[in-house]
């Protein structure tokens, strides 16, 4: 053991040399090398975790850099998992780093998670979160949950057996996934760059406490953090029958469970493709509503449209003509689904669609057909 490297940590009598040996013997898997993963993995590597696994199939984008602080401008376009590997090696070569440069899905999750003692969830979508939760329940692995949006974060420790208490999991907090059209992501409504840093560090802290057996772990609880009000709140979870019933009971059930469908099955709004949209445009008999906020780029010059920002939609319903089909558009096709849902709720008999994948993809589509 490199005593000099870990000296300040070994000096803590709660940890000591024996705690350091526990860290060295431990295997921690980090799911997602985004804001949470970048934050947590640096401290876990520095602390001397013996084996760190990182699963991510994404490449570094410029818009990641304000919060995913392991990456530099020169890393844009590189695979995140590979860059993380290099950084961790440079930080602490004692750590054995296992890179899974692939998408975690239910065909590989049990094998990968099975190799580790503790799982830290830094993923960015509900399908992965439910799948990782269920895999951890099946394999009986502690799950350190973290999630962020705008100025707010969650941390929780699931599936951990502490003296006497039954262990809870993510489904005891949220038994079913939200409607995708009403649940925006950071891509759409933003996140303060430092926030995943804070939450990732709390996840890393809980991981270190579990491994070394010190302190009070945030078990069977979820803690919320609001960066604007600087308020923390902790909520207690209990085991629910609904959660137990929802989780696949066997490996075969898990592999047959369609998590993408589970997390996307609730939309009733028809989405129209670019091709169908082009055809409808030619009928000259439709109302197109841009639901993005004022002055969002790119500007729409290809067709006439109204601009009714999603945030104001409820106050502007009276001005919308209902005698012809309505198509909502936004940048990626998510906010337009929310807007269409609101319109449909208010005008059940109107014909309402959402432009699939949004205006950016539509512009790319127009470019691609004009180049043929």
């Amino acid at each position: 053991m490199d005593l000099q490297r870990y000296q300040r940590q070994i000096l803590l009598h709660e940890i000591g040399a024996s705690g350091q040996l526990k860290l060295q013997a431990s295997r921690v898997l980090i799911i997602g090398a985004g804001g949470l993963g970048c934050s947590a993995i640096q401290y876990l590597a520095a602390a001397g975790i013996g084996t760190l696994g990182i699963v991510d199939f994404d490449v570094v984008e410029k818009s990641n850099l304000h919060r995913q602080v392991l990456y530099t401008t020169n890393d844009i376009g590189k695979f995140k998992a590979k860059v993380v590997f290099e950084r961790i090696q440079a930080l602490n070569a004692d750590v054995k780093t296992l890179v899974y440069n692939q998408k975690l899905d239910n065909s590989n999750a049990l094998e990968i998670i099975g190799e580790f003692d503790i799982v830290l969830d830094g993923s960015d979508n509900f399908a992965t979160r439910y799948m990782v939760n269920d895999a951890c329940v099946l394999l009986n692995k502690p799950l350190i949950y973290g999630a962020v949006l705008r100025f707010e974060g969650h941390v929780g420790v699931f599936n951990i057996n502490l003296s006497g208490s039954q262990s809870t999991n993510y489904r005891d907090l949220f038994p079913v996934p939200p409607n995708p059209e009403t649940s925006p992501s950071c891509n759409e409504i933003g996140v303060l760059g430092v926030l995943p840093g804070t939450i990732g560090i709390l996840q890393a802290t809980e991981t270190l406490k579990i491994i070394t057996g010190i302190g009070t772990v945030l078990a069977n609880s979820v803690m919320t953090y609001n960066a604007l009000s600087l308020k923390f709140n902790t909520f207690q979870l209990s085991v629910t029958e609904k959660s137990k019933a929802g989780i696949p009971q066997t490996e075969a059930e898990f592999k047959a469970f369609n998590y993408d469908w589970f997390c996307n099955s609730t939309t009733s709004i028809p989405q129209i493709s670019h091709l169908e949209f082009d055809k409808l445009l030619q009928t000259n008999n439709l109302t197109i509503i841009d639901v993005r906020e004022q002055n969002e780029e790119p500007a729409i010059t290809e067709f006439l449209h109204l601009n009714l920002p999603l945030s104001l939609l409820n106050t502007k319903l009276h001005g919308i003509p209902l005698n012809r089909p309505i198509i909502t558009v936004c940048n990626s096709g998510n906010r337009s689904l929310s807007a269409s849902q609101i319109l449909q709720n208010n005008f059940p008999s109107a014909k309402i669609y959402s432009l699939q994948n949004g205006i950016i993809a539509y512009k790319n589509y127009l470019n691609s057909i004009s180049n043929v």
Binding site: S123, A147, V148, E152, L173, F174, S229
Partner: protein, 77 residues
């Protein structure tokens, strides 16, 4: 009888305030109904409900001074 409401995450975008008081809501079902009248968009989103910092999944009686929290899920990483 007065209870305090705490609103988190995306639900705050709908209610436009993070905390207020409600009167005459005998249980969480009555409260959810009242909220859906005052904020129709709240009935479209999913959220977890906590009474006095305990997450609940069934109708729960409310008494004076209780604090009810509305916690929508989010998945950013």
């Amino acid at each position: 009888m007065e209870i305090q409401i705490l609103v988190f995450g995306q639900a705050q975008e709908i209610t436009r305030k993070s905390t207020w008081s409600e009167v005459n809501t005998k249980d969480t079902e009555a409260l959810i109904f009242k909220l859906s009248q005052d904020f129709p968009q709240l009935s479209v989103i999913n959220y977890a409900l906590a009474v006095n910092k305990i997450i609940i999944h069934q109708n729960t009686e409310l008494s004076d001074g209780d604090v009810v929290a509305i916690l929508p899920p989010f998945s950013g990483g």
